[in-house]
């Protein structure tokens, strides 16, 4: 076979992409291995994250040197991550479908491009700018308007009964995540809706539907696989979102959220907020336990993304080859 240096160079560069994914998994796993052995399954089930006494001499526990009283449990952050993402999707899915339907069939095609651009802008704003806006506008709005209004309306459910709170917490974090997830779902669904064949729409009209019924009963069901894939992609984004959530979530330690206004920490935001403290641990177990959080987050987001890609793959493909 002829040696082709140009193609081989490109191949070498290309191999770096899967190599990067493999390296991330390998090094996170290797580095956190002592923490995985020390923490055991309690890592996922315990609410207590404590670095222990960093000033006393470390003690040997299970063959490993750790600070006295050290305990690494991430249940609080797991719950925080799942709760913020779940609430965000609960709001984002109906809103995104409404926006996508509105842009696909509710406005004239001439307006569509410009209006869709507004939604796409949401995807362009960097996470930390969302945080800046969240701290200045959204958090006060949640504290003084949204949370009290929600409490008045459905406060008979304890989860929504808010008596006090700074606004930093679960609700604000979920709302910021909502804004970040909406463009992902909207653009994917809008794209799918605009590719629904004209014959299908005309068939629905012929059955005597109104335009809204046609969109709702004929077009939406046709693009359902795209919707499911887009929602899971959005979930992946929400689970790993860091800066904006860190800035508006209040940060919770050893404390599960009781109401919608409780402070929370997500796995991603906790890694950023805790590395400084973790570095003070002379045994290094805290830094390794943070790596274990990163590893758990890595596995969760990879699984979510693999599912989403497999679902979107079959339907989203352009016809061109």
């Amino acid at each position: 076979m002829k040696l082709r240096p140009f193609r081989l160079t490109l191949l070498g560069l290309t191999c770096l992409i899967p190599a990067a994914l493999g390296a991330v998994l390998l090094f996170l796993a290797l580095f956190s291995w002592p923490a995985i052995r020390f923490n055991g399954i309690g890592f996922l089930l315990s609410e207590t994250w404590s670095l222990g006494n960093l000033y006393a001499d470390p003690v040997k526990q299970g063959g490993m040197l750790v600070p006295i009283g050290a305990s690494y449990g991430i249940l609080v952050f797991l719950v925080g991550t799942l709760a913020t993402s779940a609430i965000a999707l609960l709001i984002a899915v109906p809103v995104s479908l409404g926006v996508a339907m509105f842009l696909a069939e509710g406005v004239s095609p001439r307006l569509r491009g410009g209006l869709a651009l507004i939604v796409e802008m949401l995807a362009v704003v960097p996470s930390v700018v969302y945080g800046l806006w969240g701290v200045t506008v959204l958090v006060p709005l949640v504290a003084h308007v949204l949370a009290p209004a929600l409490s008045d309306a459905i406060g008979f459910i304890p989860f929504f009964r808010v008596t006090s709170g700074s606004g930093f917490g679960l609700f604000a974090a979920a709302l910021v995540l909502t804004l970040m997830v909406v463009p992902i779902i909207t653009t994917t669904v809008l794209d799918a809706l605009t590719r629904v064949p004209r014959e299908a729409k005309e068939a629905a009209y012929a059955l005597g539907t109104t335009r809204f019924e046609m969109v709702r009963k004929a077009m939406l069901p046709m693009v359902r696989p795209s919707i499911v894939g887009a929602v899971i992609l959005g979930l992946g984004r929400a689970l790993g979102e860091t800066m904006a959530v860190l800035m508006v979530s209040g940060g919770a330690l050893n404390y599960l959220p009781g109401t919608i206004n409780s402070p929370v920490s997500t796995m991603a935001s906790f890694i950023v907020s805790q590395l400084d403290s973790a570095e003070q641990d002379p045994t290094g177990m805290a830094v390794r336990s943070l790596a274990e959080i990163a590893l758990v987050l890595f596995i969760i987001t990879v699984v979510v993304n693999v599912i989403a890609r497999l679902m979107v793959r079959g339907v989203g493909k352009p016809a061109r080859v």
Binding site: L115, P126, V137, F212
Partner: protein
């Protein structure tokens, strides 16, 4: 009647999404402009006051570094996927790249922290920050580059091969020039990601109040997104002013890059 209610709900949903967009832009631009002064560009940060010269130059340096490491792999990988990626290997790389774009940047940042910062002992540095950003942008660039190169008509490649051109010439002289606007777009979008990224930089680039002295490792560097995150939580009014000024610079840069990317694509009819 039901239709009217349905469309109204859809319109309300759109307004609910559009309002925050305008409010974010209005807030950051108005407060950012209010904080504007020439000193922002000439002075370095001093505690939580002073200027942003260190952060502005740091963001430029880190982004340039990210492109330096990221473009060869991202664009090279994209070319390979478009030209030779129809087999199983191509399918795997494509899938892995898609999955990689979905991994939270903080996870990649922590990976860089344990390998580059503590493992190789680079400490917070330009090199570590740039490499981390490069890992983040490579999969986006590869997939976008592949997408635009696949739109280059197959007949052009065949014509070039028929003239006896070798593979390298076909790609560099025929495919690449035609696909260049699209590749430029993917590079621009990667640049926008680099400028707006925060979390993975905090523990790879660190932060510095001073201008960069040119050391690739062992010297931390400032960047704009750090100012936004860190200074908005400080009590001083000067800190808030700097945070909004930094926010203004970041969002204007990111928007300008995105508009430029769209213009490049439109002018060449890439979206046809």
């Amino acid at each position: 009647m039901l239709s009217l209610a349905g469309w109204s709900a859809c319109a309300v949903a759109f307004v609910l999404v559009a309002l925050p967009v305008f409010d974010i832009l209005f807030l950051v631009i108005s407060r950012g402009l209010a904080a504007f002064s020439p000193a922002l560009f000439t002075q370095v940060t001093n505690g939580t006051s002073g200027g942003l010269a260190n952060a502005i130059s740091g963001t430029l340096i880190l982004s340039a570094g990210a492109l330096l490491f990221g473009v060869p792999v991202g664009v090279g990988g994209g070319i390979y996927l478009a030209e030779f990626g129809n087999g199983r290997f191509g399918a795997i790389v494509r899938f892995v790249a898609d999955v990689l774009t979905g991994i939270p940047s903080i996870v990649l940042g922590y990976f860089a922290y344990i390998t580059l910062i503590t493992g190789l002992g680079w400490h917070f540095s330009v090199l570590a920050g740039s490499v981390t950003l490069a890992i983040i942008i490579i999969p986006y660039m590869a997939r976008l580059t592949e997408l635009v190169l696949r739109q280059v008509p197959q007949s052009l490649r065949e014509a070039a091969y028929a003239l006896g051109a070798p593979e390298r010439k076909v790609i560099l002289r025929v495919v690449f020039p035609i696909g260049w606007p699209g590749i430029l777009t993917s590079i621009l979008l990667a640049l926008a990601i680099s400028v707006g990224e925060t979390a993975p930089l905090i523990y790879t680039a660190g932060w510095s109040n001073y201008m960069w002295h040119g050391k690739l490792i062992g010297e931390p560097i400032g960047y704009l997104t750090y100012v936004i995150w860190s200074f908005i939580n400080q009590p001083a009014a000067s800190a808030h002013a700097l945070a909004f000024a930094a926010g203004f610079l970041v969002i204007v840069t990111v928007l300008a890059i995105n508009i430029a990317a769209r213009l490049v694509l439109r002018r060449t009819g890439g979206g046809q």
